[in-house]
Symmetry: C2
Subunit: 345 residues, 2 copies
DNA sequence: CTTAGCACTCAACCTCGACGAGTGCTAACG
DNA sequence: CGTTAGCACTCGTCGAGGTTGAGTGCTAAG
């Protein structure tokens, strides 16, 4: 990001007022209405300042005789230097908390609830990714016979994530044999991730060949699970976009909804996000996706335990109340982190 | 449904032509353009017929000097008596088939794929419910220790449906004890549904009290699973609504998307559907939901094995090409049935 | 019963002018 | 020299008025 053009005190106040007004009303704001809020200066003075703010690219005029609208850059300056984050109102807390009062034991179910809660709290489209670790660890596994050629692997991973997959049997094997192998593997495999499992010493049980073969398949499947976790994205609240006037244009709406339904595109975006510090805000074209040029993303991580983290955030119009949305996203993130942490037991 | 007003040959042909034209263009159709297709009669004659078709309620005039548009009743008559279903074009088959070429082993994953496939094939919002049986039967179960007070129940149900739930332990119990109980229960419980399990004789293992208690909780959870199956609805393809001119009105769009995102409302609707015969088409207000007054549902069942069936279908504009959509829904339903059947092993 | 002809209706579209919100510029003021 | 009142100017919005054309219903003739 290039160094922002520095602004004096008064220009900052005016820019802040423009963002506040426009965020509230959705209508380009003119010097007169600003002069009411900022009674210190006349509308003419403000007009001069607006002109220079437009010149340096922080404001845009839809047409000659219209008021000013913040540009992406303007929002960026606002977000970085001017914004006073608002506390999450009690009303919103009361709206969010019940979602986390009674929780299912599976992580994915919790995330689904989180998506709904955040969509309500932030009045935007919510996005949630599964918590990611360097390699998911196994908590328990089981083998169920399907037929002579196949067995069903049931993996219980950390966080009570349950995954199933059909495995090929090299030869016929009873359920009793499978159960024996499963309990044999359970003894050595618990707490390991894919990498750890591939370092496992030679077989332990009596059905050496079969067990070896199954273990190879299990490791392969776990690698797949790891990869899937990155791309799994839940979303909710598309309805919240519809009452925004800027999405009155159906063309635009269609592009945005297509991106949201096509989760792959979001996955790329989110994984590119730099979330080392608290919250990341991507404004308009900053996301790099043309379809989202009128949208902003507010993302943060939730932490469940020491090294497990997922991403949670919202997608909304660039004209969103950033001062409110940020804290709300963080609030929900904290709840999710706690809930997922508990599920990790 | 009240008895429909009978129509003579000519009126039928005209009604059919109106539906065909309107479905294609989305513009109210007038007598002149009909006279081109139905060269047998002059526009004046057709005009007379249109007037009587309007009187009996099969057609509607948006305003005095506009053409005619089919009413819900008109579509109903068309669908019941006039429609010639079209074969699913090879192009569509080629679009659908790849989705079912490589299949995951879990039923739910298959259904998700089905939803996407159908959304593409029918160019509408697809809806899919899980296959329902009178009571899902257990294939395998397992107990994993979470902490001193709780154990995680992992149920593998028919169709490789995996469900997990935390159970309360009346007293502390090792993983070894839990495994013993699990294998004891497995011996008697496999193939039973919730009802069957509650008729089970007194305990078999050595940890009588604990086992009894857990079994009660398991039965309760299975009942919940049964209930959940009815309400689980996957959907995809909201984007397909957006390029329909009738949803250019954002108000309307919002209502529809709200219903789709709020799955509960659809669940009620779908479970009310009468699917004894091949396919059910609900047109406009027939659904009873005001929000969907401009939408139609085309639903059918897919069968996986003898007594397992789920619902699959689409939600689109009332002005949808019923003659094409019906067969396509059936086509996908058949594929899904086969795929789920295979997953049931 | 069918159909040509015709008067009629009405949404869609265009144009035009009034309106007004908002601007940029200039000149006066402290 | 920064600030501000005043003013001419721009340009989108809104409503009135007029035109167009698709489509109708009715009538009378074939």
């Amino acid at each position: 990001m290039q160094h922002p053009v520095p602004l004096d005190q008064r220009k900052q106040q005016i820019l802040k007022a423009v963002v506040a007004d426009y965020t509230r009303t959705g209508v380009p704001v003119g010097s007169a209405s600003l002069a009411v809020h900022l009674a210190t200066w006349s509308s003419a003075t403000i007009r001069n300042e607006l002109a220079t703010l437009s010149e340096v690219g922080y404001l845009i005029q839809p047409h000659t005789s219209a008021g000013r609208v913040p540009s992406d850059l303007g929002y960026r300056y606002y977000v970085d230097f001017l914004m006073d984050e608002e506390d999450v109102p009690a009303a919103v807390r009361r709206q969010v908390d019940p979602f986390f009062a009674v929780l299912p034991s599976g992580v994915e179910d919790i995330l689904e609830i989180a998506a709904t809660a955040l969509a309500h709290a932030a009045d935007a489209v919510s996005l949630v990714t599964a918590p990611r670790a360097l390699g998911v660890r196994v908590k328990h596994l089981d083998l169920v016979k399907l037929n002579d050629a196949q067995a069903l692997l049931v993996l219980v991973l950390e966080g009570n994530l349950v995954r199933q997959q059909a495995l090929n049997l090299t030869g016929p094997a009873d359920q009793t044999v499978l159960s024996a192998i499963a309990s044999g593997l359970n003894a050595v495999v618990v707490g390991l991730n894919a990498a750890g499992m591939s370092r496992l010493p030679a077989s332990v049980g009596e059905h050496v060949a079969l067990e070896r073969d199954l273990l190879t398949q299990i490791i392969a499947f776990m690698t797949v699970c790891d990869a899937q976790q990155d791309t799994l994205i839940l979303h909710d609240g598309v309805r919240n976009l519809l009452h925004q006037p800027e999405f009155g244009d159906v063309e635009l709406l269609q592009q945005v909804i297509e991106v949201v339904e096509e989760e792959r595109m979001l996955a790329a975006l989110i994984s590119a996000a730099d979330l080392d510090h608290g919250i990341q805000i991507m404004i308009g074209r900053e996301s790099g996706m043309a379809e989202l040029s009128r949208c902003s993303l507010v993302l943060t991580t939730y932490r469940a335990g020491a090294e497990r983290r997922g991403t949670i955030g919202v997608l909304g119009s660039t004209r969103m109340p950033y001062a409110q949305v940020g804290p709300r996203v963080r609030y929900v993130a904290q709840r999710v982190g706690r809930a997922v942490g508990r599920a990790l037991s």
